[in-house]
Symmetry: C2
Subunit: 268 residues, 2 copies
Amino acid sequence: SPRVVAFINQKGGVGKTTSTASIGHALAMAGRRVCLVDLDPQAHLTLHFGQDADQLSRTVYDLLVDPTCTVEDVLRRDVRPNLDLVPAVVDLAAAETELATRPDRTRILSDRFAPVRDRFDVILLDCPPSLGLLTLNALVLATEIFVPMQAHFLALQGVGKLLETVGMVSNSVNPRLRVTGIILCMHDGQTSLAREIVADLDAFFHQAREQSVPWSTCRVLRPPVRRNIKLAEAPSFGGSIFDYAPGCPGASDYRALAAQLLKDWGMQ
Amino acid sequence: SPRVVAFINQKGGVGKTTSTASIGHALAMAGRRVCLVDLDPQAHLTLHFGQDADQLSRTVYDLLVDPTCTVEDVLRRDVRPNLDLVPAVVDLAAAETELATRPDRTRILSDRFAPVRDRFDVILLDCPPSLGLLTLNALVLATEIFVPMQAHFLALQGVGKLLETVGMVSNSVNPRLRVTGIILCMHDGQTSLAREIVADLDAFFHQAREQSVPWSTCRVLRPPVRRNIKLAEAPSFGGSIFDYAPGCPGASDYRALAAQLLKDWGMQ
Ligand SMILES: Nc1ncnc2c1ncn2[C@@H]1O[C@H](COP(=O)(O)OP(=O)(O)OP(=O)(O)O)[C@@H](O)[C@H]1O
Ligand SMILES: Nc1ncnc2c1ncn2[C@@H]1O[C@H](COP(=O)(O)OP(=O)(O)OP(=O)(O)O)[C@@H](O)[C@H]1O
Ligand SMILES: [Mg+2]
Ligand SMILES: [Mg+2]
């Protein structure tokens, strides 16, 4: 049964989409069957793979709001070898309002995705910068959570609030949900600020191992992903970093992260 | 009558708070009477000036929801020489829901702030990463808007949506509202991506000069603010960049930006 990872952080611009796209593509290149799901009305993950929203007749929006729409209708097969994508479009912003009154509104994605779930080794869910209904749908489908973040002082504040929300979800709708990894994005490893923040995070998760909390097995994933302008350029070429600049430091860091995940998951 | 500038961008982590704090402090150091208003439930601007939320009995939240609370109650005088602050706390997140049914809900800040408005030369409003009710209150009080952003491909998309919202507000509640400046934050000036994005922005605003749109006088402000880790470190010391590292490149860029603004505003 597949690893289902939600990339979550209610702070904007921290590296959720870049991490989902890059790790997803790296895992597919390593031969695993991967599905990416774009849950953000900004549809940046969809852009990362050159998918034109105007040509998308069926997206995750339809999957959520239209009972006649199936996951087979929206699944774009092999956008890259071994890599499928459920795309998003801007209309998705309306989903939160449209679904607000349905009693099963946090379960919809999980229920609708179920028929194809076991087709994949890994499913990655890119979430918008909020803890609203779209993110909650991801938290119900997922088995684990990665938190992309920058090693900055203000970023630490958001993490506390995020863990609190995860705690509530795992206590109510998805008891097996774990926070298993922090991804350090846009990392300036040379600075004392970054080193201090990483040390704080390592210490926090070390003492959490003794507690019965959903992040008791969480650790900071290595390597951190260095700031590398190539990662910001790639989406303007409609491709991931592995399409655009496979030899650059950003590609190398994400490839190493993916390789480490395959080890941890016993999937080599 | 004062310059009232809202720092707006619905994308997260683009430099709104850092710009509001740094430009505000620089203008105060240049001898102008400045008021900063923190409209973000994250209360990062409040942190930037070492203001402890637990000690804040009165914040912008009270100003918005409690009719007995006056602006004099919440105004923290001289947090730095010439610099007053209306702080925020996390409770502010509830304001959007609490005010949702009031017919005057976008005017409240403007109305409640009116008694002290003319005490200042410049009022700067730090907004959350959304186009919701708190940001709309800023848009009604403001006379102009600055948009902090990174010169990245994905950042351009957000700007279009932002301008559309500004257009709607200026057509309905605040006809004199102008978008007057783009602030380039965390700028990697050496990269071709940054140069291309800046060229695109310059060209866009050049052709907008002929149109009757609220951004017809907007330009990219100079200098761009370089990426500088000192700017990320400053809030962890409870101070602005001018308290923490007044000689660093980040301080120099924001000081130069503020000086240019004073020229443009005829306020030297
Ligand atoms: N390691 C990196 N080096 C340089 N630029 C990066 C890096 N990682 C991400 N970026 C750029 O930073 C910006 C924000 O990254 P990204 O879109 O992945 O964040 P996000 O958390 O998904 O944002 P949002 O909250 O808007 O969904 C993008 O322009 C992206 O290209
Ligand atoms: N020029 C810069 N160089 C380095 N770091 C910076 C720079 N400007 C801002 N930062 C850091 O980047 C992060 C995001 O900046 P900031 O908080 O100003 O953005 P924001 O748009 O206000 O975010 P939010 O949407 O969460 O309110 C912060 O950790 C900040 O310290
Ligand atoms: Mg994203
Ligand atoms: Mg901010």
